[in-house]
Amino acid sequence: MDALSDAEVKLLETKALAIRQTIIEMLVAAGSGHTAGPLGMADIFAALYFRVLRHDPKNPDWPERDRLILSNGHIAPVLYAVMAHAGYFPVEECLTLRKFGSRLQGHPERERLPGLETTSGPLGSGLSQAAGMAYASRIPVRETSFSNEARNSSSRDVRIYCVMSDGEHDCGNLWEAAMFAGANKLSNLTGIVDRNNIQIDGYTESIMPLEPFREKYESFGWHVLEVDGHNIPQFIQACGEAAAIYEKPTVIIAHTIPGKGIREIERDYRWHGKPPSKDEAAAFLNELRTMQGKITSEHQ
């Protein structure tokens, strides 16, 4: 991927800030949901949807699109927010999150919202689905195939991205998939792990230690990259490197700060699964809009 200009980096950072504001607005409107994870992944999702992914919000079923599988469905607010800002649906619809009749279910449901690649929430199964897509994309299909769908699925340069939490690496299913992807050298598959070190009951290394994490993936036949998940150019460069590695799947371990952007939430696992109150949300939005007090007048 081409190096980013300063203006392009600035644009992506602005998108990430807007996504964070939308996340807070939708969570306070919903009255329930997860806060820390979505905020922590705002920079990466901004980079994915506004730079890395080949996709078309006006044509969500485009067969040649890259696929993004969100394995840890509970961080849906960041996915909905970035999809809205990318143009899949109106940003105002974000305020329907978790409400009756909404397309924005508490955990994502593919059938309800165009642009979602799968239904997720129960942890540990996303990498399997992503591996299935990556494998399916390389099965040769004869040109005589009578099915347009089948013919379209033969395109070889489609990339599959799978966003996972670190906590879900407790699941056996995930490592079954990691072993499968390594064994089959699924080089068009890129895993992205939100390494924020928290899960519901506490810090990952106290609940069920994941370290040495990098070595686990390497021993399963993966190419491993580690990035600062809030350094947008670094993450985009890693995605480019992943695409260039042709003999292995690549996992990008993105070190992130849970709750990034709001000081009270940052690094506090108690914010994993609760939304802000109305008063808290007002203060948090002020913090985001004033860039953590760096400027005095709020910009909307």
Partner: protein, 330 residues
């Protein structure tokens, strides 16, 4: 008498040819794959045993070995299906849809992708392997999932047809197969339509309707023949599709007879008998007796020994018919 419209085999009562239902699946899979390039097959280290071997040899590029990883098997298949493929996945029914039930629920049924789950070695007739490998709850597990179609073929030929029908159907399907060689009852000319039960034995004024599924349909026919000799008229319906249930045929036969017996190699809780009871309680309440496994696990033995021990034999069906007849109020 045998329903001539069912076009059953001529030697059905004498010395029927025998073949396991899994064998018919293996044939059907290759036929389906010949016709549709989107079909892929994934197996969890049981390729020969689940009869995927012929497909794997003919279509190596469309065959995926997953290893002993049934949760991955189901979720991988979800990804294949989302990418435009029609995946068939096989293992033993205790493991798939047993071990991987949540992956099937979330990534296949709720996600609404056309994965075909094929569970072999269902029932106590698995034999010597014992309880760990004898699935007796798989129908229950699958029929409670919205969007899931559940098929339990009565013989190898019907398994072949069920496989072809599942391949053409745009949605998730569960096909239940057995290990043991069992009598071939149906022929290439026997009608098969998903969701349409077949009357295999009919009488002018039946006293009891027997609804059976899987290879035990043969025991139900043997019971009907024995009962005829005692002048007890019954009908026998092969309910190969347990979900969606053929309401029209089942209510019609239940109403005509006024009493029913369900027959299945499955726990009574949640299986075919339960599905029929749910339907008839609303549509046509009549006395019902259940021939099935009564809240027990299986064990090692020969298929024949186990079928008798768990009360699934011809004599048990005959006894259930007589018992339910006595419960009729008019």
């Amino acid at each position: 008498m045998i329903n001539p419209d069912a076009k059953l085999t001529a030697n059905i009562f004498d010395t029927p040819d025998i073949s396991p239902t899994r064998e018919g699946f293996g044939k059907g899979l290759v036929e389906a794959a010949d016709a549709d390039e989107r079909i892929v097959a994934l197996c969890a280290d049981l390729t020969e045993s689940t009869r995927m071997e012929a497909f794997a040899k003919k279509y190596p590029a469309r065959y995926v070995e997953v290893g002993v990883a049934e949760q991955n098997l189901a979720a991988l298949a979800s990804g294949f299906a989302a990418y435009g493929k029609i995946p068939f996945i096989t293992s033993y029914a205790t493991f798939s849809p047993g071990r991987n039930n949540e992956q099937i629920r979330t990534t296949i049924s709720l996600n609404n992708v056309p994965v075909k789950i094929v569970g072999s070695h269902a029932g106590v007739s698995v034999g010597p392997d014992g309880a760990t490998h004898q699935a007796l709850e798989d129908i229950a597990l699958m029929r409670v999932q919205p969007r899931m179609t559940v098929i339990s073929p009565c013989d190898a030929e019907e398994a072949r047809k069920a496989t072809l029908a599942a391949a053409k159907y745009d949605g998730p399907v569960y096909i239940r197969l057995a290990r043991d060689k069992t009598p071939l009852m149906t022929t290439a000319d026997t009608p098969f339509e998903m969701g349409k039960a077949n009357v295999l034995w009919k009488s002018d004024s039946p006293k009891v309707a027997i609804f059976a599924t899987g290879p035990l349909v043969h025991n139900a026919l043997l019971a009907a023949q024995a009962l005829e000799k005692e002048s007890i008229a019954v009908s026998v319906v092969n309910v190969h599709t347990i979900k969606p249930l053929d309401k029209e045929t089942i209510v019609r036969e239940a109403r005509a007879a006024g009493a029913v017996v369900s027959v299945e190699e499955h726990q009574i809780a949640g299986g075919l008998g339960s599905a029929i009871a749910e339907l008839l309680a609303e549509a046509c309440p009549v006395p019902q007796e259940f021939v099935g496994v009564r809240d027990q696990f299986g064990q090692s033995g020969t298929p024949k020994e186990l079928i008798e021990h768990y009360g699934l034999g011809v004599s048990h069906i005959v006894a259930a018919v007589k018992k339910v007849s006595q419960r009729k109020t008019s």
